[in-house]
């Protein structure tokens, strides 16, 4: 009994916070746009009992999903989001790994302070931090003023409202999610393994390649997923830092919802985004499980 309750709680959680909202979105994606409040048809009328439910189900169709395949905008936006998410994850890894490595190799008494510094930015609102990047990157911003004062540039660099600014924003925002899992993997590593490798004639560099990197693999994978998954559907960063040519599915979703008032098509876009995300989420789960088994 107790076991059933214990298992039941997380499942209940999943049903309430994931399955039910998903079914609502799926339902809207199968309905049609209407000038009403809320702006779609049909509405489920439970007062008519079962016949009402059947009448409701009969009205649903996959028209909106067919529509998504007819306009190149949507798959281009999905592809472009995937590409931006992949690239941003890779850059975050390149920046995050050395930081995590340095933290894990720092003196024991320094580590809590360094860890604290990584988490510290979370104390300020995410929105304010993205806005301050606008102040730094704009044509009249801090960076351009500094560079022109140093004499490096003559005309201001156009960084804000480009994809470069989007990458900077994503890497900055999600860096802690990359550093923390890698750090925790590296910190647990037994340093005598490195000594053994060197005793056996490994150079320091090849010891890193052959010992350190494979042992931190689980942290790298976890970090990459933690960055990739939220980046794919990111809306705030591309809309504040990106230009109009930055094509991401989050912006398309916003436009369907707000400009077209087409909740059904917006929901269809969201359902597909979710389906795309399910693959990395399952892979992430597997990785976590494998790691747990390896430890257990």
């Amino acid at each position: 009994m107790r076991r059933a309750v214990l298992i039941g709680i997380p499942y209940l959680w999943l049903v309430a916070l994931f399955l039910v909202p998903f079914l609502i979105v799926l339902k809207i994606s199968l309905s049609d746009i209407a000038l009403a409040r809320p702006p779609y048809m049909p509405q489920l009328d439970l007062s008519e009992g079962l016949s009402g439910l059947f009448a409701f189900l009969a009205e649903l169709d996959f028209e909106n999903f067919v529509f998504l395949t007819q306009d190149s905008l949507y798959w281009k936006a999905y592809l472009s989001s995937l590409q931006i998410a992949f690239t941003a994850t890779f850059i975050t890894l390149l920046v995050g790994y050395p930081i995590a490595y340095g933290m894990a190799r720092a003196a024991q008494e320094w580590r809590p302070t360094l860890l604290m510094l990584v988490i510290l930015p979370f104390w300020t609102s995410f929105l304010i931090r993205v806005y301050s990047w606008m102040g730094i990157l704009s044509n009249e911003g801090v960076l351009n003023q500094l560079l022109s004062w140093l004499g490096v540039i003559d005309a201001p660099l156009q960084i804000l409202n480009t994809n470069t600014a989007v990458y900077i924003g994503i890497v900055y925002t999600y860096l802690p999610f990359m550093i923390l899992p890698i750090y925790s993997a590296l910190e647990k590593m037994d340093e005598s393994l490195l000594e053994a490798a060197e005793d056996l004639g490994c150079s320091r560099l090849s010891a890193f390649w052959l010992v350190t990197l494979p042992l931190s693999k689980s942290g790298v994978i976890a970090g990459c997923f933690l960055v990739f998954i939220p980046t794919l559907g990111e809306f705030v960063i591309p809309s504040l830092l990106g230009g109009s040519q930055t094509l991401m599915i989050g912006k398309i979703l916003w436009e369907e919802f707000f400009s077209n008032r087409d909740w059904p098509v917006a929901s269809a876009v969201a359902v597909i985004l979710l389906l795309i995300l399910i693959i990395p989420i399952i892979l992430f789960q597997r990785n976590e499980q494998k790691q747990r088994e390896a430890e257990g």
């Binding site: 306009d71 905008l73 040519q245 930055t246 400009s259 077209n260």
Partner: protein
């Protein structure tokens, strides 16, 4: 039992009193003299919660979703019309609006196109959509006779190519920009058919490479700071930029012109959502705004004309006397209005807009 009943009665009273003390207003950004908000609270004792937005689309989505929690909202004419059809607003109770007589019949006649009989809304402000320029820089790039009062400034690639380096912003609102592109092409600005949209696309695509950004509120500061040279935006916003630049004394001179090819005239209407938590307080707020002196204070601050006849004697000379704000009869002739887009045409319009902005 009796104590319990009196207890619940007291609770209900407290709840009622608490509700009566709050009114939530959702208005456009940079659109009121903020001292009026304090004045309202002092005069009426009602707590005012004032939030802002910068696009009709955001407001409309909240209205159509329902349960926005706002008591007063300010959609523009065409959006208002569609939202009335969707059943988003409640009729005004004019018996609760003693200042209703202050309204200006000239404007009321025009807003009746969107809200027949003006049953659901009152006019807050109205204005035109036109061109704001950084006078010095534009003349430096295009010469003394730069066409600052013509749509050719922003739609002729030859001009835009030269202006691009110093920055051109357009409103991120297809319902404002597409009619202007049609007016420039000599077509009916209110046309919505495929042929008209194709023409608008042609005009906009030709200048797209030279447009730095589509945004509906950033241009006020950008123009005032000298970050950009040209903005296609709302009259009062550009006049606010002009004043901010003058105050900052930064050598930037901003000027506004309604395009000679015709300018869009729009109306922002205050209305009460059908599910407003406190419609009584909403009426108190509307009546406060319709007071001649209050309305004049708002217009004097934001440089937009209002639909309140009685307020005109309290307007500053640089507002009532400026034909960019209160156009004379000849200039009024040159203004056009538009009607809402039906769903199918709306989709084509949004698709066109995405294509123009993202190139896809």
């Amino acid at each position: 039992m009796k104590t319990l009943m009196s207890f619940t009665a007291t609770l209900a009273l407290v709840a009622g009193a608490a509700a009566a003390e709050q009114v939530r207003v959702y208005n456009w950004s940079d659109y009121i003299d903020e001292s009026l908000l304090e004045k309202f609270e002092q005069e009426t004792g009602i707590d005012l919660i004032y939030d802002v937005f910068d696009s009709n689309e955001v407001l409309e989505t909240k209205m159509l979703a329902g349960g926005s929690g706002y008591d007063v909202v300010v959609p523009s004419g065409t959006f208002l019309q569609r939202q009335i059809e969707a059943g988003a607003f409640q009729k005004l109770d004019t018996s609760k609006l003693p200042n209703f007589g202050n309204m200006w019949d000239v404007i009321a006649k025009r807003t009746a196109v969107y809200d027949p009989g003006n049953e659901y809304s009152i006019n807050y402000m109205w204005g035109t959509t036109g061109i704001g320029v950084n006078v010095g820089k534009v003349k430096e790039l295009l010469g003394e006779d730069a066409p600052v009062d013509s749509l050719a400034l922003i739609f002729d690639p030859a001009n835009m190519e030269k202006l691009a380096s110093c920055g051109v912003h357009l409103l991120d609102a297809p319902v404002e920009v597409v009619p202007a592109a049609l007016a420039y092409a000599g077509m009916n600005p209110d046309a919505k058919d495929d042929e008209a949209l194709a023409k608008a696309e042609e005009v906009l695509m030709a200048v797209r490479p030279y447009i730095q950004k589509f945004h509906s509120s950033e241009y006020i500061n950008a123009l005032a700071n000298g970050d950009i040279c040209v903005a296609f935006g709302w009259s009062g916003d550009i006049l606010q930029a002009r004043d901010r630049a003058a105050e900052a004394n930064n050598g930037v001179e901003v000027a506004y012109n309604a395009p000679s090819e015709g300018a869009l005239m729009w109306f922002d209407q205050m209305a009460i959502p059908v599910d407003a938590p406190n419609p009584a307080a909403a009426h108190v707020f509307l009546n406060f705004i319709m007071d001649a002196q209050n309305m004049a204070a708002a217009s004097n601050y934001v440089y937009y004309a209002n639909g309140n006849k009685a307020s005109q004697e309290f307007l500053n000379e640089d507002v009532i006397g400026d034909t960019a704000i209160y156009p004379n009869a000849a200039a009024l002739e040159n203004l056009y209005t538009t009607t809402p887009f039906p769903p199918k045409e709306q989709r084509s319009l949004t698709r066109l807009w995405t294509k123009i902005k993202s190139g896809t």
